[in-house]
């Protein structure tokens, strides 16, 4: 059974009376513990796709199913946006605790859970800090802790490191992989950075715009930890870019 399955998912907007397709016949199966990257030029509908999966947009055709149990999207899916979307009036701990709102955990259990995930992302010392006191990378790590705290089966990430500088981005990619190894979750990460996709993912979906559709599926199949300078990665990069550019 897959952690996530999309079958014949299509979506269109009505613009000035005319139907404009943004996603056309998307089929995707994400297995447990698999990391899938979606790359594509801007406007290819990759962010829209995540919004459908997380339940922010219910207006689509086709079917989306989340895992084996008959649960709603929310209890199965954690979402990290490009901007951290932390609540400025809550401490880091308060923000992570939001994810536990819909659970039956006791106050102590909630505190233990938030502390655990803050430790996991290296923010244990910043539990009482407010988001404005954090750097961009720290805020994004807090957002990841928040998305993981209710222990979803799938972590969706919409260009999570897109706003960070390249060194920090590489560091957070490594951190993400180490979190993933400790917390076996499936990850679907949308990015426009092919190297990021190749470093992280088991499988890469290359999308094409107008209307958004999957053009190529690249099985990376390299063992981790990967070497960013590996010639095999360079070959795969050439293949992805040939489709994209």
């Amino acid at each position: 059974m897959n952690a996530l399955a999309l079958e014949h998912v299509s979506k269109s907007y009505i613009l000035e009376g005319a139907e404009r397709p943004v996603l056309k016949d998307i089929n995707l199966k994400v297995e447990h513990n698999e990391i899938v990257a979606i790359v594509g030029a801007s406007g290819c509908g990759k962010s829209t796709l995540l919004r459908l999966v997380v339940g922010l947009d219910a207006d689509y055709r086709g079917t989306i199913s989340w895992g084996s149990h008959n649960k709603t999207a929310l209890s199965k899916v954690g979402m990290v946006f490009q901007d951290h979307r932390l609540y400025p009036w809550l401490t880091v701990q308060g923000n992570v605790d939001l994810a536990l709102d819909d659970t039956s955990l006791s106050t102590t259990e909630r505190r233990d859970r938030t502390s655990h995930y803050l430790r996991l992302v290296g923010l244990a010392d910043y539990a009482k800090a407010y988001p404005r006191q954090l750097s961009g990378g720290m805020a994004q790590r807090a957002a990841i802790a928040r998305a993981l705290a209710h222990e979803p089966e799938i972590l969706l990430m919409d260009e999570p490191f897109g706003a960070l500088d390249s060194l920090l981005r590489m560091r957070l990619q490594d951190e993400l992989l180490s979190i993933w190894e400790k917390n076996k979750v499936s990850i679907v990460i949308v990015t426009h950075d092919v190297e990021e996709a190749l470093y992280l993912a088991d499988r890469i979906l290359v999308m094409e715009p107008n209307p958004g559709r999957i053009r190529d599926v690249v099985d990376v199949g390299l063992p981790r930890p990967r070497d960013r300078a590996d010639p095999a990665i360079a070959d795969l990069k050439r293949r992805c870019l040939a489709t994209l550019v």
């Binding site: 954690g78 979402m79 946006f81 308060g94 939001l98 819909d102 407010y130 404005r132 928040r146």
Partner: protein, 258 residues
Amino acid sequence: MADRSLRTTGFPRGAVLPLAAALIWSAASAAGFLSGPMAVSPFEVILTPFVDPSGRELWMALFASIARVLAGGALGGLIGLVLGYVAGMYRIAALGLAPTVHTVRQVALFAWIPLLTAWFGNGESTKLVFTALSTFFPLFLATEQGVRQAPLPLIEAAQTLGLRPWTRVRKLYLPAALPSIYVGLQIAVLSAWIGTIGAEYAIGNGRGLGSYLASARDQFRMDIVIVGVFALAGGGVALSAAVRFVTAKISPWSQEAR
């Protein structure tokens, strides 16, 4: 402006103009330019609330008015907050409520007094309802706008986190609306103060700064009238400062950010 110069220079530049006016006033009354039953010297005015038996009633009147502001303001403010929240949250409520509120708001505040006295009589309830009314409008509008301006990215985050409705109120919409509510509160407290004094003045009976002023005028006690006017200004400044103080205390996240 006055606040800032106080802080930056240590010298209350804002006090220069009133002090100069007081000086001219004293000089004029000492030199005999001001005479007649309506003319009083600043010295008399300063002493009035402490030595004069009628003047000493100022404190009770001031206290009664402030108590009325707090009671009526709490009532009207709470209703404004709740209805403003509902109107900000639900489009259907906004469509149903806003036109009525905006139309009713166009009625000049003091035009309500004849109607209110007809409904509630010449006593305490009319003054309370009037104060409540003068607080309701600014808080309704501020809350409605603040809630409606809650940032969409944070609303989407609430959806993806599966926040329950009451948690959304406490952790998202109210904090997001707070800056706007604070501005509304600043306006509301002054509106309530003016409303209270106005109602007391217009109705004329009972304790309060307004009725105190009205009776001093009727008795040609210009010293008390002037003291009353100063008390009115002082009360407004104090209430406004109290609101600023309290609101600064309960939003620690915004203080350093600005």
